[in-house]
Amino acid sequence: MKILFARGFERKFGEQVQYLNQTILTNKAHMSWVTKTLNSTLGRKLLMALTGLFLILFLVVHLAGNLQLLLPDGGEAFNKYAATMASNPFIKVVSIGNFAFILIHVIYSIILSRHNKKSRPVEYAVSKASTNSVWASRNMGILGTVILIFLLVHLKGFYYEVKFGSTPMVSYEGVEFKDVYAIVATAYSNILYVAFYVICMGFLSFHLSHGFASAFQTLGLNHKKYTPAIQFVGRLFSIVVPALFALIPVYMYFTIQS
């Protein structure tokens, strides 16, 4: 019965549900509890929240590194930092995890969005959703998609270039480093690229403005003592972090121009 539901529900939603609707599920589970959980809407949301929170952490680390681009040292600190990141085995593991989490976050968002779409096949003719919820919370999918596109462009432009492209070299105190700074500086001298970057950070800001606090709610971490603080930090985070990210290309564009 349970298997019928879990598989059948995804495959043949319409007809299957009619049949399933008439049945109260028995407790005879044929799936392992792990599969069962990952197939439940709550389990899937749990994955979204956990991966989301990890990615939020990643943003902090990534931002901390990137802010070195603003140092007036011609990119030395940044290039050294990039080299460490590329060679440290721990960072390597984290980085693989990071990619995996992004993938899980994306895949499960697609699964959940499809599921949610099927849950309301006929839309309302008139809807005043804006009176009961904020825009970002209803459009995480769209926001996420833009962020994903940005991510692909971003990875192609920097990660791929540095890793597999021909990166110029620079030497500090006789040691050779990849001049990642140069690649970044070249990219940020293009006004279109800077504009794209800034706009995408706007999308990220909206995504975070809902995602941050929402992840805590999904994890069940809601308490009248702490939730206001979480919401405040979430709002602050969703403004400050994307703003700082956006500041880098803008600042570099203008310093390069002058």
């Binding site: 349970k2 539901f5 069962k36 849950s119 309301r120 009961n132 999904t218 994890l219 069940g220 971490l221």
Partner: protein, 249 residues
């Protein structure tokens, strides 16, 4: 006042359905929204047309039978049930669009009437304390702190109308399920079956085809009884702690 009604008409659950427009005159501000529909139906009856079918019963905001998605909101512009909505919330000349609740789990049966038996099946899957009649301890043998009793009561005031599902962009039933899970998770009487209950109710909720919660908060904002989002967080908490610690492998 004069109104234009755009009402969803659908003969049965197989019919495709569509909107029909009805002009309506002589509506007084003191009428309830459903009394306004009564006037429309008297008109239709006079013309020999099929009256608009809609669910309603107590008309005092407690049975949860009335529904209606009015001008883009469940139960209309105020945070109350449709039966407690009065025409003074509208103005002369308004166009009012009336739609049924929209959700896969709530199929339309006729016009504005939907089938909400999915909610019953969720309760049947575990929304109770398994005690038989008789053989229970004296009521005062189970002291319950007033704050807990009050909070459990707040969750228990859910009327099962389905506005939360109707309001949610994902047609999620999390607020409904969380209200019952919360009530029983907070009370000492609910402890014995606490883990099993939440697992079963969530499984049934999913099986009915309700969507997943994306924490938009629309459900609580539209709930006529003000059931709060903290219940959803509690449901999440209850569920995760149940799956990692229950005996169901």
């Amino acid at each position: 006042m004069k109104l234009t009604l755009k009402v969803w008409r659908q003969k049965n659950n197989k019919d495709k359905g569509g909107f029909k427009t009805y002009p309506l005159d002589g509506i007084s501000a003191d009428m309830s929204f459903l009394e306004m529909l009564d006037v429309l139906n008297e008109d239709l009856n006079e013309k020999g047309e099929d009256p608009v079918h809609f669910d309603h019963d107590c008309r005092e905001g407690i049975c949860g039978m009335c529904s209606l998605y009015i001008n883009g909101k469940p139960h209309g512009p105020k945070q109350t049930t449709t039966c407690q909505l009065h025409m003074r919330s509208f103005s002369d000349g308004d166009t009012i669009t009336i739609e049924p609740w929209r959700a896969t789990a709530f199929p339309v049966q006729k016009d504005l009437v939907v089938d909400r038996s999915a909610f019953d099946r969720i309760i049947q899957s575990g929304g109770y304390v398994s005690v038989n009649t008789g053989g229970v301890p004296d009521a005062n043998e189970i002291p319950i702190p007033k704050t807990i009793a009050d909070e459990a009561f707040d969750a228990a005031t859910c009327i099962g109308c389905g506005a939360c599902v109707a309001a949610c962009k994902n047609a999620s039933a999390m607020l409904f399920v969380s209200a019952k899970v919360s009530q029983l998770a907070m009370l000492p009487q609910g402890q014995v079956e606490r883990k099993e209950r939440v697992e079963k109710m969530v499984a049934q909720m999913d099986a009915e085809g309700f969507g997943a919660c994306t924490n938009t908060g629309a459900c609580a904002a539209e709930c006529p009884k003000g059931i709060s989002l903290t219940n959803i967080a509690r449901l999440n908490r209850e569920y995760f702690s149940a799956i990692v610690s229950s005996e169901n492998v």
